[in-house]
């Protein structure tokens, strides 16, 4: 475990406005000011249910984007400009995507500062708007904000505060995206910093920060040097709370995985895959949004055979290619016009590979297993 601190923005306005004491905003501003990076890549809030990537060097724009956006399920790795030093706020799936893309020479990791955000999952915007109107009778336009806190879904609206346990919400088919439910990586340990709520004493406006790399040190130092941040060392109790929270969330995720993926084991695998993938209309969206696909527009897989095949070659090739690379970010499933549970399917294959080879994509820079020889040629 890296060095752990409780830290916050020195500027009282940023500390008040930003989520968890504005540490992330302050750190991004410091990185710009110190010239560590040319620009920062963050999520611009359009409203509670819509956010878009923003690449900027304007401190005012950075300030206006403070606090995480739960209903903007983006993977920012796809928006990193080539050949530029940038700091980017990353969920674990963004960070893992960046690492996988850097293995494929899509991104130079040297240029990237990853400010990690602990993540309990993101929400699909339209489904979440339906949740607030179906369950609380609210006009989504009247929603001022929503968050997940201590297992509860909290909606702040003009007419008051509304709440429901997450378990109930998700049992009713609302709540987080499926891939987030079964994602068991909550702390972006592969980023340079990991920032989150867990471990922060109640009532304190601060972020629990773990420094994970030398670049993380640089970022933290920049905050101190520019007097943008203030901090204290995290105590044992706080560290323990964070570990416990992380463990509980991972267990929760594994439970979701068992439940959702058991549907495949209950039926005949081949029939399941033929049936689900049979709805594919070959629009190519899953490939376009896939952060680990390096071919993108040059890919030939989309035009490969499908007539008369029970599963198209496109689908099989993607499944096989992602077997050692899928990071489970959920982008493919989000955009699939045929509602194929693609991330679940890719993860089924990836997790088998993980179990067999002990390799997890997106954690460190070792080559994907498919690019490596089998030691000794053992069969």
């Amino acid at each position: 475990m890296g060095k752990c601190y409780l830290a916050w923005a020195k500027d009282p306005e940023i500390r008040q406005k930003g989520g968890s004491g504005g540490f992330v905003t302050a750190t991004l501003l410091a990185a710009l000011k110190e010239g560590l990076v040319e620009r920062v890549l963050i999520v611009r809030r359009i409203d509670e249910f819509e956010g878009v990537p923003l690449l900027t060097d304007d401190p005012e724009e950075v300030k206006s984007c403070s606090s995480a956006h739960l209903a903007a399920p983006l993977n920012l790795s796809s928006y990193i400009p080539p050949g530029e030093r940038v700091a980017v706020t990353v969920k674990p799936c963004d960070a893992r995507a960046i690492i996988e893309r850097s293995k494929r020479r899509q991104i130079d990791l040297e240029d990237i500062y990853m400010v990690g955000l602990n993540c309990g999952g993101t929400f699909m915007p339209v489904r979440t708007m339906e949740a607030v109107s179906d369950l609380f009778g609210l006009d989504p336009g009247d929603v001022l904000g929503f968050e997940v806190s201590k297992g509860k879904f909290l909606v702040e609206a003009r007419s008051g505060t509304y709440t429901l346990p997450m378990v109930e919400l998700e049992r009713m088919g609302y709540g987080r995206r499926d891939p987030c439910r079964y994602c068991n990586i909550n702390i972006p340990v592969m980023a340079d910093l990991a920032c989150g709520d867990a471990g922060v004493p109640p009532g304190m406006r601060a972020t629990f920060v773990e420094i994970l790399t030398d670049k993380g040190d640089e970022l933290f130092e920049a905050g101190i040097k520019t007097s943008m941040i203030e901090f204290e060392e995290a105590g044992e109790e706080e560290i323990e709370t964070r570990v416990r929270t992380d463990r509980r969330m991972s267990e929760d995720a594994d439970m979701w995985w068992d439940e959702l993926s058991s549907m495949i084991d209950e039926v005949d695998h081949l029939s399941y895959y033929i049936n689900e993938l049979g709805r594919c209309i070959h629009c190519g969206s899953c490939k376009i949004v896939c952060p680990v696909c390096a071919c993108k527009d040059d890919a030939k897989c989309l035009d490969m055979g499908r007539e008369g095949y029970r599963i198209s070659l496109y689908n099989l090739i993607r499944l096989f290619h992602l077997m050692d690379s899928c990071i489970g970010c959920g982008q493919c499933e989000d955009v699939c016009p045929a509602d194929i549970p693609l991330t679940m399917i890719h993860q089924r294959f990836e997790r088998r590979m993980e179990k067999e080879l002990g390799y997890r994509p997106g954690f460190e820079m070792s080559k994907p297993p498919l690019q490596e020889p089998e030691p000794g040629g053992k069969v």
């Binding site: 695998h269 029970r310 077997m323 067999e356 498919l370 030691p375 040629g377 069969v379």
Partner: protein, 140 residues
């Protein structure tokens, strides 16, 4: 009326430098082999793209055999070690997909091992006969 009996179809990718010659030796020595297999000669087992294997199944192969040079004897440094890795992942892959993993087989067979080649073909044919037709092939 004659009932058409199903016979397994096996596609074999054979390395030019070893097992393709091995298959030839098996023939020259008149080793008994069922007529269940078709050979595609490749310059190295490592040049077999996993997608070809998948395509073979989609096209109606009931089994796919990849044969290459023994470890340490690759004509091109260590490419057969890559074959071994791909094979390992392909086995997991087709198992999750719902095909019996034994439909895919990798064997190291040298240019002189005609006997081994014939044995592998006989054994694989029997195993696949027991498994029945692949369900990934085109609708019959």
């Amino acid at each position: 009326m004659a009932i058409e009996r199903w016979e397994p179809k096996i596609l074999a990718f054979c390395c030019n430098w070893c097992s393709y010659a091995g298959a030839d030796v098996a023939g020259v020595e008149r080793r008994q082999m069922p007529p269940s297999f078709r050979i595609i000669r490749v310059m190295c087992s490592g040049s077999v793209d996993p997608c070809w294997v998948l395509e073979a199944f989609l096209e109606g192969a009931d089994g796919v055999l990849i044969t290459g040079c023994h470890p340490g004897e690759c004509h091109y440094l260590n490419t057969n070690y890559h074959t071994a890795r791909r094979y390992r992942l392909l086995r997991i892959f087709i198992e999750e997909l719902g095909l019996e993993p034994d439909r895919l087989r990798l064997e190291w067979i040298s240019a002189t091992e005609g006997i081994k080649f014939a044995e592998v073909i006989r054994d694989m044919t029997e195993k696949i006969r027991a498994l029945g037709p692949s369900r990934l092939g085109p609708e019959r």
